[in-house]
Chain length 757, copies 2
């Protein structure tokens, strides 16, 4: 492999300066002349019939420009692909937060006042909050599927019954993983302008083009008359795959012909956006006496909330993905997605995978304990190996699990600490797998396209339809161009997501940008290089040349002929000003899953090992001392940013493992509606995090790279749970594992021990 | 030629709606948060040494953020290509309006107040206002050329002396054509933002990339860190080839790190922008007794003002261009560009060509009178013919002068009216030639480049570096795309001039857009068509297809396979979202003029005939009744817009022929500093204008088209002067020919007649 100058280096983020100096323009920063402000009326009840809806007083309020209800939205029922929802509630509301009416007014205060003047009379209907109730089949209206079942999955691979018969040991458990809020710090905001038949929506999104498509379906405008303009984003984490705010602002601007801004308060974020899919998982593992896994059975109940959003896809990933970690003979899984009367659930970093890793990795720990094996040992016996085809068809082009385990053990000093166990201390380990560049969005579409422009003044611009949501993708793309042309990453402008400027894209998800998009950008660089050198050769008579370190070098004499900047100017002038526009397409060799999910939906799979060390007081109060997080992500493109992904993912996971709680009560209301109540972790709750990498060079990634976006969040919860077991001998099977819960069980255990004495 | 559906039709301007509804955003409409306002201190004297410049009081004023003088501008002397000027005056001022200091303040009022607080002490220096004085050689500082001569031209073709010896008739005269203001209704305005090392300037311009280059030279920033963003423009007419306002706003934003808007008042437009080049022309024509032209001698003194701007190029065009009209055996021309102490002069629609057409066409009229020939007849005898090579090397690919004359005569009812002459009525005629796509800007660069994007949602976007300045070029480009793809022109978005988005361009001048740019866009359309049909054939298995009326048609079966929109979506998806990006380059086969101007600087030449009919009272008061304006512009792309160009050009010419007057007094001050004083024509001064076309199909233009941007302004003045002679028998040789001047000469004539009686 040739020497790399920029790739693999600790390159500063190209967007750092703008963010640090407050120059980055987020959605809510946008101020347009004569702008109106939008606000929404949310359902106060989790399930009810609307008997009366009176908007007259609101309309009459001075400063109010328009009040819209369901009947004003021509394609109200065309919202989202799954067909089980609407934009504004029609005769019925299905969750607290369901939007009944929207207002545009001259100020946010007036809009809020108008909302309070809208009169709604409800007839309460039966409420389904828990998965238990949902299974009982209390009928929810607008649910044309029987027994509230939004989606059933049942998959059998291999001979599960025979494997279970052969088994020496069987372990099983029931686990609870709740709905979680992604808590991106910037709340949703969109500003829409409808003028001269063209709709422009300024917002943050992971899926600019899906947003454009949704806007087209609901407004009836042709997609070619809609532009979604990308704003800088303060986080996304899956929560911006499906957003209502851009649609509301669009409806209001089309009704008023004035620019309309719609910004969520934090409360509105909790009420109306899409938390992650809560799950109840029953799991059974069968193994032989040496600890070799034979088979696995799982049953999932997954909580869709009031409509599907992307929870069907999340459920599918939860059902199958984690099996890639190990070599199972057979597996059985049955998953049932259920409607309930709270906010619809959807994607969160890990996309269902962290939900299933919690029971899987907890139960493997239990199995190791039962067989008297070290938890690292039992995993090493069963790890998937490079070039395996997983039981679900995934082709493993690279896998560094063994090396990750070795490195993690060393970083944690595992063997020594386990051997010389100190009372009150606990060590836990968990494995993880994810997919990099998983197919999503359009079924016929698995690839990415990059456009690279090189202008007569040597300006490099990358145009792509994916987004920068804080993960650093723009810097990775700048590094790739810089590497290929021998320039500085800060010399590259990256435009991500202005639907009129950039190639179509299915969006930003599935840890796909570095691999999929990165590969396409490499092809675009190649395209530009070929065009430029051809022009220099044919029009400027340089003879064969190559581009190296920002210079044009004669291939024959290796003489430096001129700087790249001069070459581009001359070549462009010789072509009447033609810019060099390179297009790169990468279509990974993936296979869409069949009806049972068998297939190879991603070109590469990142793996990792997470370890937790905790200290527990006798009363159960504990702190996480240290997380070791070692990842096989192929070639590391930017060491600092990859570490940043580890820190961020681990921090989120530490949060939901031990602190966060939406607490949906029997009235269907999230009890935690402020950051103070929801309790995302602060720096005070952070353990020491030691991140490291195993650089398998993956054949499908650019320079051998795989993705790191989602993995770090995935298996922190079981690592911590296993460490707690190691410390106090008690297993915890529902998230969050708060010190209070731990203490409760410790007290119970002590009580039982006393009684049995 | 295939049937055309859109080209040649009366297509509505694609920018009409936005302009009519007030939705178009002009430079001064832009409001940015925390914006400052710029103002300039102008020299009060036409020529003086600055003894003292005290800005302290201005700086101390509350709300003033910065005051800049020459010493604050690092590359103050690098302004403009000709090296004879500076951005801000250094030790010396050279014209009333020369900028001495600039201020940025929190409001325009404060900025104006600050300007008034700046104290300047001048030592007056000798002043050169008239060309007469300039010839005398009063020395002007910073003029390193001898005798104030900024530029000498001397060209001899053929044997002038012999031709003059052979001549039967010689006529000669001395003519004055003053400096004129272009009076685009929108005054210059620019808003600049310097942030994170990047300078963005929002402004109107004919030459976005030259503006970027100027900004780079003066600020020292690399071109790749400068973006010039195109705003909608309210006219340009050559006056926006060189602009100081974007530079001033850039200097102020770089000094304050805040956005700065700088908008000229109308007075500042008169003081600091570049009026057209005033000329004194001596002309002699030699002919045989039948009226065949033999030779021509001309001597031009041209008035550069305080520095060169583009008046050197204007002088060159004035010296040579009009000779293309006729077949001369030999010509001699000597031109001298002179510095004077008033505002620098530069381009105005026609670019010097209208200046020389006035004496040439006036003197030909005199010759016809002397030889007792009808003025149309003498011209017909001498016209250039198709496939001629002019005396200066211009290759005439098409020429419809004969047909234009025939049509104009019919429209004016010339023969009948001349025969049955009514007292007080007068008829005049004049010929014109111009160049379409004349080389300008970069010497190595004669072409244009177009980019055409076709996105997955069937959105067509044309990206070009030239500008829409009211002439309708964006609509012409939309028509070309619409014609080629069988769609509506209103379905095409045209982006003209955002230097980070569009191909490099030398700018908008030389009546080049329809021909040069249009041709390049045709190639871009072809490129997109080929890419799309190839993809349909190879990736979607359609077999050979063609695009017709917005549909995909099987070449073999002529069956309609699918709409273009569906085809684009499928083809783009099959290519991972790849947009279809077509690039078209047109490089006309032109030859840069040699040192004497011999060459073929344009691929095509538009011709025309203008006729005027006037009614004169006995006291000399006259009105222009009618202008007939017939043009050979090849294929007419848009009849209404081409007529619009005729109306506009004729209107401007009627204005400067009979009304407008900058009146530079001996103090170097333009006496007309408001529209009321300058007197551009209103609708009340407008004659009936009858425009028509001769559609020669030019081999080099798209669909056979040549340009119509500049021609209509060119020969109205001599047509009117000749009509006045026809009415009263007196020749007028200095513009403007106001009724007062006419009356004065009539009174003189009567006095002389009385005396001689």
């Amino acid at each position: 492999m040739k020497k790399l100058n920029v790739i693999g280096k600790r390159v500063r983020r190209i967007d750092a300066l703008a963010k640090v100096l407050g120059k980055a323009v987020y959605s809510d920063d946008l101020v347009l002349p004569h702008m109106l402000y939008g606000k929404a009326l949310h359902s106060a009840l989790p399930h009810a019939r609307i008997l009366k809806l009176d908007i007259e007083k609101a309309k009459a309020l001075s400063g109010v420009c328009v009040v819209l209800t369901a009947k004003d939205v021509i394609n109200n029922d065309k919202y989202h692909r799954t067909g089980d929802t609407w934009v504004l509630a029609e005769d019925e509301v299905r969750y607290v937060g369901d939007i009944i009416a929207i207002v545009a007014a001259e100020s946010e205060k007036i809009a809020e006042h108008a909302i309070n003047l809208i009169e709604v009379e409800y007839e309460p209907l039966p409420v389904v909050i828990s998965l238990e109730d949902a299974v009982k089949g209390i009928k929810l209206t607008r649910c044309d599927k029987p027994d509230n079942i939004a989606m059933p999955i049942q998959v059998t691979r291999g001979d599960v019954d025979t494997d279970f018969e052969k088994a020496d040991t069987v372990v099983s458990g029931k686990y609870i993983f709740p709905c979680l809020h992604q808590v991106h710090l910037e709340t949703n905001s969109a500003t829409a302008v409808y003028e001269l038949g063209q709709l422009v929506v300024y917002c943050g999104s992971q899926v600019w083009f899906r947003t454009r498509h949704e806007l087209s379906k609901i407004t009836g405008l042709k997609e070619e008359n809609i532009i979604v303009k990308a704003m800088v984003m303060g986080g996304a984490f899956g929560a911006r795959n499906e957003q209502i705010v851009p649609i509301l602002s669009a409806l209001l601007t089309m009704a008023t012909k004035m620019p309309v801004k719609f910004t969520n308060s934090r409360l509105e974020e909790f009420l109306t956006t899409r938390p992650s899919v809560g799950m109840e998982i029953e799991l059974t593992i069968a193994a032989d006496k040496k600890g070799k896994f034979l088979s696995k059975k799982s049953r999932l109940l997954t909580d869709f909330g009031a409509f599907t959003s992307d929870s069907d896809a999340v459920t599918a990933i939860a059902s199958l993905r984690s099996d890639i970690n190990y070599r199972f003979n057979s597996v059985f899984v049955e998953a049932t997605g259920l409607y309930t009367n709270h906010a619809p659930t959807s994607a969160y970093r890990g996309f269902g995978n962290q939900q299933m890793h919690f029971p899987l990795e907890s139960l493997i720990d239990e199995l190791a304990d039962k067989l008297n094996l070290d938890p690292t040992e039992i995993r090493l016996k069963n790890f998937t190996q490079p070039n395996d085809i997983s039981i679900h068809g995934n082709a493993i082009s690279s896998c560094g699990l063994n090396e990750c385990m070795e490195k993690a053990k060393k970083l944690m000093n595992w063997d020594k600490k386990r051997k010389n166990k100190v009372p009150g201390k606990g060590l836990g380990v968990a494995t993880l797998v994810h997919a990099s560049s998983s197919r999503a969005g359009e079924p016929e579409f698995a690839g990415s396209c990059s456009e690279l422009r090189l202008e007569s003044n040597r300006k490099f611009t990358v145009l792509i339809g994916e987004c920068e949501m804080g993960q650093g993708a723009s810097t990775v793309m700048a590094q790739i161009v810089a590497e290929e042309f021998g320039i500085c990453p800060s010399d590259v402008t990256v435009i991500m997501g202005d639907t009129d400027l950039v190639p179509f894209s299915t969006g930003t998800h599935g840890t796909k940008l570095t691999t999929n998009l990165g590969n396409s950008l490499l092809f675009a660089c190649k395209d530009v290089k070929e065009q430029l050198t051809k022009c220099l050769r044919e029009r400027l008579g340089t003879g064969p040349v190559e581009i190296k370190d920002g210079q044009i070098i004669s291939t024959n004499t290796q003489k430096n002929l001129m700087p790249l900047s001069e070459a581009v100017k001359q070549a462009s002038y010789a072509n009447s000003g033609r810019p060099f526009i390179g297009l790169g397409i990468f279509e990974p060799k993936t296979v869409m899953g069949d009806r049972t999910g068998y297939g190879n939906i991603a070109p590469t799979y990142p793996f990792g090992i997470q370890m937790a060390e905790i200290t527990m007081q006798e009363d159960g109060d504990f702190i996480i001392d240290k997380i070791v997080s070692v990842h096989d992500i192929g070639k590391v493109i930017n060491h600092d940013m990859a570490l940043g992904q580890i820190y961020g993912g681990v921090m989120q996971a530490v949060g939901f493992t031990t602190l966060e709680n939406l607490s949906i009560n029997q009235e269907g209301i999230f009890q935690a509606n402020t950051l103070l109540e929801y309790k995302p972790p602060t720096i005070l709750e952070m353990p020491e995090i030691i991140g490291d990498f195993v650089e398998t060079i993956d054949p499908y990634g650019p320079y051998g790279a795989k993705g790191i976006g989602e993995p770090p969040i995935i298996s922190v919860a079981p690592a911590v749970a296993n460490a707690i077991f190691n410390a106090c001998g008690i297993r915890y099977d529902d998230i969050p594992i708060t010190p209070m819960k731990v203490r409760k069980k410790i007290l119970e255990k002590k009580k039982n021990e006393k009684q049995s004495v």
